[in-house]
């Protein structure tokens, strides 16, 4: 089950914590990858650690023309086929709304939501021709529950969910599914540096009692990207240790 042999995948934000786990997970199931990220050197270093014939395609997701060039470049590098698109790249610019600058709002919406839309729009073309496609976007528990200081981030992540439902309906007849995965708190460089008091308060809100890992997220992505998940579309799979049940 969940064998991705013969499939190709584009993963954005692939050199980051969750993104690299996703890329490894897809590659382990046999998919051939185009990994993307904004830092070309870091990306190439990551690509070199993957077993198999994968390609690195850098892009700056805050720049519309760079975004629009990414899918065509990936499709070409992958030999003309794109089966799986994982919109994983995301940024935060946390601030209380009263203090949030226009630029902080714009950057988060542009990278997290607008770039995802542009990439799906471009990927739909080869996927429609193939009569097969799997799109998975990484949203967040925060898109469902909100979080003070993250009006921009929560809006972008909730936006991904609604957008994915609309696109799921548009593309379902072509055997293209569009889903989201919503991580809760995942162990990362960001959570490692939290003070102990804050960390235990955080863990107190998670019935599982522990933070999640990148591998927990990767497993959900592998499932939704698989041929077996063809009847699942417009859904959000929450991977959060039970901290929010929606």
């Amino acid at each position: 089950m969940f064998d991705l042999s013969g499939m190709t995948a584009l993963v954005t934000g692939a050199s980051g914590g969750i993104g690299s786990a996703i890329a490894r997970g897809l590659a382990a199931q046999g998919a051939r990858l185009a990994v993307s990220g904004s830092n070309a050197d870091k990306l190439e270093a990551f690509r070199a650690t993957l077993d198999g014939d994968h390609v690195a395609v850098p892009a700056n997701l805050s720049d519309a023309s760079s975004v629009d060039g990414l899918v065509p470049a990936a499709v070409q590098a992958l030999g003309g086929r794109l089966d799986i698109l994982v919109n994983n790249a995301g940024v935060t610019r946390d601030n209380l709304a009263m203090r949030m600058k226009d630029e902080e709002w714009d950057t988060v919406i542009r990278v997290n939501l607008e770039a995802a839309f542009r990439l799906i729009r471009a990927a739909a073309k080869p996927m429609m021709k193939q009569r097969f496609g799997r799109v998975v976007s990484i949203t967040s528990v925060v898109g469902q529950t909100g979080n003070p200081g993250q009006a921009n981030y929560a809006a972008s992540k909730a936006g991904l969910v609604g957008m994915s439902k609309a696109l799921a309906q548009e593309l379902a007849s072509r055997n293209i599914t569009v889903n989201c995965v919503a991580p809760g708190f995942i162990r990362s460089a960001m959570t490692d540096v939290l003070p102990d008091a804050q960390k235990s308060a955080l863990l107190g809100r998670i019935p599982n009692g522990d933070l999640g890992t990148g591998e927990d997220i990767a497993a959900a992505i592998v499932y939704l990207a698989s041929r077996e998940a063809g009847y699942v579309t417009g859904q959000t799979l929450h991977v959060n240790g039970g901290m929010a049940m929606v």
């Binding site: 073309k125 429609m128 021709k129 548009e170 593309l171 007849s173 072509r174």
Partner: protein, 78 residues
Amino acid sequence: MSETADRVKKIVVEHLGVEADKVTEDASFIDDLGADSLDIVELVMAFEEEFGVEIPDDAAEKITTVKDAITYIDEHKA
């Protein structure tokens, strides 16, 4: 029948899975040939590829019949 017309009709038959004799020049993609809006998008993509023409969205919206497609392509192909 022009060469363009032949190729357009072939694409329509293949894509929409309709009988060739139903694909008359006056046939409307949606009303007569059972296409939905996504089929139109795909047909336009297929025409662009087959004839090497660019069909912008505002022009694509006006292509509702087989004849509309043939006329547009004849006027714009290299």
